[in-house]
């Protein structure tokens, strides 16, 4: 299919004052594509095949961010290269489309696109979906509306400017109405819109900014929502994999005779990662897996345990630098953070069908293009990845784990070996013990004090095992920042993201990248989950040393008015300083990141056997909250993550093996540990769109640690505080 593109429509200053390009894609009904207009599409854009299912090379194709399809039944379909994992982006996108199109929210569907090189950015992470896509979505929907209005004006032979839109209809002053569905074909042939194709001013919003329930809520509560292993791909056989006891251990020898003779077993396949067993159902596959006789070789980390890892990290910190001139006192803090497993509720799962020189995989992928490349490489098609179709499926949580797609590679290999489609499931043990982990870390913070309690400097050196970043991070940061970053290293990402928001004089933060052969991945807030947390804990220590109140000290040193505003808000709403019984105290912390600012106030009771969080008060400035309910949900969930990992959840390494195997010993918070309310107050300083997915983690963790320090008299420095679990 060679679609013809109409001339580019000059669009629109976005709210963030960047330019977006929109254009009509030839199709039976109106289809509008959009992209962030860093440059204009090349002349060969006319050859682009936006809606085609596959094609060869990509040199003469127009890359785009998303497209919106107006169907003749009046429904609107937004197709975007992002994956819903629980963060609510499908609802947020539907709200933006409904707003700009003046149609009902219930008329809008949002779909995740298959992996395709023409998607400019196909990665779900870095709290970027709404920040990055809101502009192109608004531009595309506003353009579509303008063409629908123009089509109606031509049909009725009236002035387009006299028409209005509401509830999915164009309305004439004389009361005539036409639904978008019946205009969708004509609108596809409108050459030039005769009304403004510019998005609305936010002050005119009636949908965006309103607390709105999830568009998929009914599907979820009825069990109708489909995750990967719920899909019905004909002929699939279930597969599980026997895995080594140590991380990245190897198969030395194996005997599958007993397993192959078990009921229902379809086949046994050796993989680089273990031995796969396929059977008629998962019960049989699991039983046969247990009957395999395998001798395992040790993995590359088999000489390492928690203690030796901590020693390596501490050793990497090195000597203290010279203090600034006039330093009269140097405060030192040391912090240790553990490895963390993402542990999404849905374990790694994939359906794969490899037939001849084509493969198709279905999985919850945060980076589908990466999955495509990896599967293609595993099948010997590194130079022709387009042979692999990747269908991103709704995921049961991601949190950074689903940037990595070993499960798809395994499933594709087994499908090819067996010559039939397979559904491969990691058990919970597999998921806990063979993941990619938020790395452990060790931190040294030095605060330099001068005469009269002045703060002359702040030096933070963090020793962190190298974080494996997905390739898509470079594309995304390039698009967001406008600076070309082809590859993102730990050092670069650290430098881009780690900031101290206070007037602390001479501030330096350094990363010591430590090579440890344990697989890693980014985790909610990436380096800030350690560096930012440690900073905010040590600021309380600084306040104690100076005899100052933690809120007052922060207020006096913060550079950002947004941070001061959210801090003041939690101090007010959380009644900072109110009288509390012995053993109960409040803690605060703040963070500014991804165009958003947040403060947490947490009250904790340390009089029992384990600390009990009594109250969490959050104030956040995410600019324009597209769906306040969704922002609140993200911040509440991140607070639960922070409480879990500060108090009780951490991964331990014993001779290269992960100790924790399920939620029985990886002590994520349960209902009984969670306070009855987690208050969220939204402060709106402007209409920029800030990130919300990761924002709520770091200052929640630090505020909890600060509350424990103030209640118990001891600053926590090693996490999780209850090493044995809650």
């Amino acid at each position: 299919m060679a679609d013809t593109l109409e001339p580019d429509v000059p669009v629109s200053e976005g709210i963030d004052r960047r330019r977006f390009l929109t254009w009509v894609v030839a199709a039976p009904t109106l289809v509008v594509a959009a992209r962030l207009g860093l440059d204009v599409p090349s002349a060969s854009a006319a050859e682009a095949d936006v809606l085609g299912t596959s094609s060869g090379g990509s040199s003469n194709e127009t890359a785009f961010d998303l497209y919106i399809t107006l169907r003749s039944d009046g429904r609107v379909l937004a197709t975007l290269p992002r994956t819903e994992m629980g963060q609510g982006i499908t609802t947020g996108v539907a709200m933006l489309v409904a707003e700009e199109l003046d149609t009902r929210l219930a008329s809008v569907e949002v779909r995740s696109a298959d992996a395709d090189p023409r998607w400019l950015i196909q990665l779900t992470g870095l709290s970027s979906t709404m920040r990055y896509l809101a502009g192109p979505i608004r531009a595309a929907a506003a353009d579509a509306r303008a063409r629908l209005v123009t089509a109606a004006a031509h049909r009725w032979r009236v002035l387009a400017l006299s028409l209005s839109t509401a509830n999915g209809e164009v309305i004439a002053p004389d009361g005539r109405r036409a639904g978008y569905g019946e205009l969708a074909e004509d609108a596809a042939r409108v050459l030039l819109p005769e009304v403004s194709p510019l998005p609305k001013n936010p002050s005119a919003y009636t949908v965006v900014g309103q607390p709105t329930g999830r568009i998929d809520a009914r599907d979820i509560v009825t069990g109708a929502a489909r995750y990967t292993l719920d899909l019905d791909v004909p002929g699939t056989v279930p597969v599980v994999v026997a895995r080594p006891p140590t991380l990245r251990g190897t198969v030395q020898t194996f005997n599958a005779a007993a397993a192959s003779a078990m009921p229902g077993v379809v086949g046994v396949v050796q993989l680089p990662t273990g031995i796969a067993v396929a059977a008629q159902n998962f019960a049989q596959a699991l039983a046969a897996r247990d009957a395999l006789e395998i001798s395992w070789g040790p993995g590359p980390a088999s000489h390492l345990s928690d203690g030796s890892i901590r020693t390596r990290l501490r050793d990497a910190i090195g000597a203290r630098p010279l203090p600034p001139l006039f330093t009269t006192q140097t405060l030192e803090g040391r912090f240790d953070f553990p490895y963390l497993a993402h542990a999404p509720m849905e374990t790694q799962s994939c359906i794969a069908r490899v037939e001849g020189d084509r493969a198709e995989v279905w999985l919850g992928a945060q980076d589908p293009k990466y999955a495509q490349r990896e599967v293609a490489a595993a099948l010997g098609w590194a130079l022709t990845p387009q042979r692999v179709t990747v269908h991103p499926i709704r995921a049961g949580g991601g949190f950074g784990r689903r940037f990595f797609t070993e499960v798809a590679v395994e499933a594709a290999r087994v499908s090819r070996a067996l010559g039939r489609p397979v559904k491969l499931m990691w058990t919970r043990n597999d998921d806990m013990r063979h993941g990619h982990y938020r790395p452990a870390s060790h931190h040294r913070i030095l605060a330099y004090l001068g005469p009269g309690g002045s703060i002359l400097g702040w030096h933070h050196r963090a020793a962190i095992p190298t974080v494996e970043f997905p390739h898509g991070f470079g594309d995304l940061l390039t698009a967001l920042g406008g600076v070309f970053l082809p590859e993102v290293s730990s050092q670069l990402f650290f430098a881009l993201t780690q900031h101290v928001p206070y007037h602390f004089g001479w501030v330096t933060q350094e990363l010591r990248d430590v090579s440890i052969p344990i697989p890693t991945a980014s985790f909610r807030s990436v380096f800030t989950s350690q560096v930012g947390v440690a900073n905010e804990i040590f600021i309380d220590q600084l306040a104690r040393a100076l005899g100052r109140d933690p809120v007052e000290l922060r207020r006096s040193q913060l550079k950002s008015n947004r941070l001061k505003a959210v801090l003041n808000k939690v101090a007010l709403e959380g009644q900072w300083g109110r009288p509390l019984p012995l053993g109960v105290a409040q803690g605060v912390a703040v963070l500014e990141e991804w165009n958003s600012a947040i403060a947490h106030l947490i009250e904790v009771d340390v009089t029992g056997a384990t600390p009990k969080v009594l109250r969490v008060v959050i104030a956040a400035d995410v600019g324009l909250p597209i769906n306040p309910k969704s922002v609140e949900a993200q911040l509440q969930g991140a607070a639960v993550d922070a409480m879990s990992t500060t108090l009780s959840a951490g991964i331990h390494i014993d001779a290269g093996a992960v100790r924790e195997g399920s939620f029985a010993d990886y002590a994520w918070l349960r209902m009984s540990h969670t306070p009855a309310t987690i208050q969220v107050h939204l402060v709106r300083s402007d209409d920029r769109i800030g990130g919300a997915g990761e924002l709520g983690y770091p200052s929640a963790a630090a505020a909890l640690a600060n509350a424990i320090a103030r209640a118990s008299g001891t600053m926590p420095t090693r996490f999780p505080i209850l090493q044995a679990g809650a």
Partner: protein, 159 residues
């Protein structure tokens, strides 16, 4: 292989399966009922929670032989034609994030409200702490349970 007959979501089903096959796989693979999720397979996460003769249970830990002649209800059979008040409350409070654990959470909550129509916070803690939500929706689950309790009370009926 033995054949087991039981009532599933109001209808009679019979399946041929080994006696020790966990009901979770019978439901998901032999009967195509995918609302109950695999989260751990060892009864510690609650993602598969369903009802056996009206009581919450874990299909991942229940051999199929033990449900012969009994009534199994999964999330798909909870509301009958419409939505159960607990499902309605889940929507009203916008509980779900990734949603994977929510069928199990809802089935656990229905069980709680049948036994205890007006649960206190401590009752909710006790009944719901065996169901993990990795997205951290506990605050909204609690609100939804309280909302459903009010609805059920004003309807004057049980769950």
């Amino acid at each position: 292989m033995p054949v087991y007959q039981f009532t599933l979501n109001g209808g009679t089903v019979s399946v041929e399966a080994p006696m020790d096959m966990p009901l979770l796989w019978v439901l998901r693979e032999l009967l195509g009922v995918t609302g109950p999720k695999y989260g751990c397979g060892v009864g510690v996460c609650g993602a598969c929670t369903s009802h056996l003769d009206g009581q919450a249970f874990r299909p991942c830990m229940q051999p199929v032989s033990g449900v012969a002649g009994r009534q199994v209800t999964t999330i798909e059979g909870l509301g009958g034609q419409g939505l159960h008040p607990v499902q309605q409350a889940w929507i009203a409070e916008d509980v779900a994030q990734c949603g994977f654990c929510q069928p199990g959470q809802i089935m656990a909550a229905v069980d709680l409200l049948r036994k205890n129509p007006q649960p206190s916070d401590a009752d909710i803690d006790a009944a719901m702490s065996e169901n993990v939500c990795r997205c951290g929706t506990y605050v909204r689950i609690r609100c939804a349970i309280k909302r459903a309790a009010q609805t059920l009370q004003s309807e004057g009926g049980g769950g």
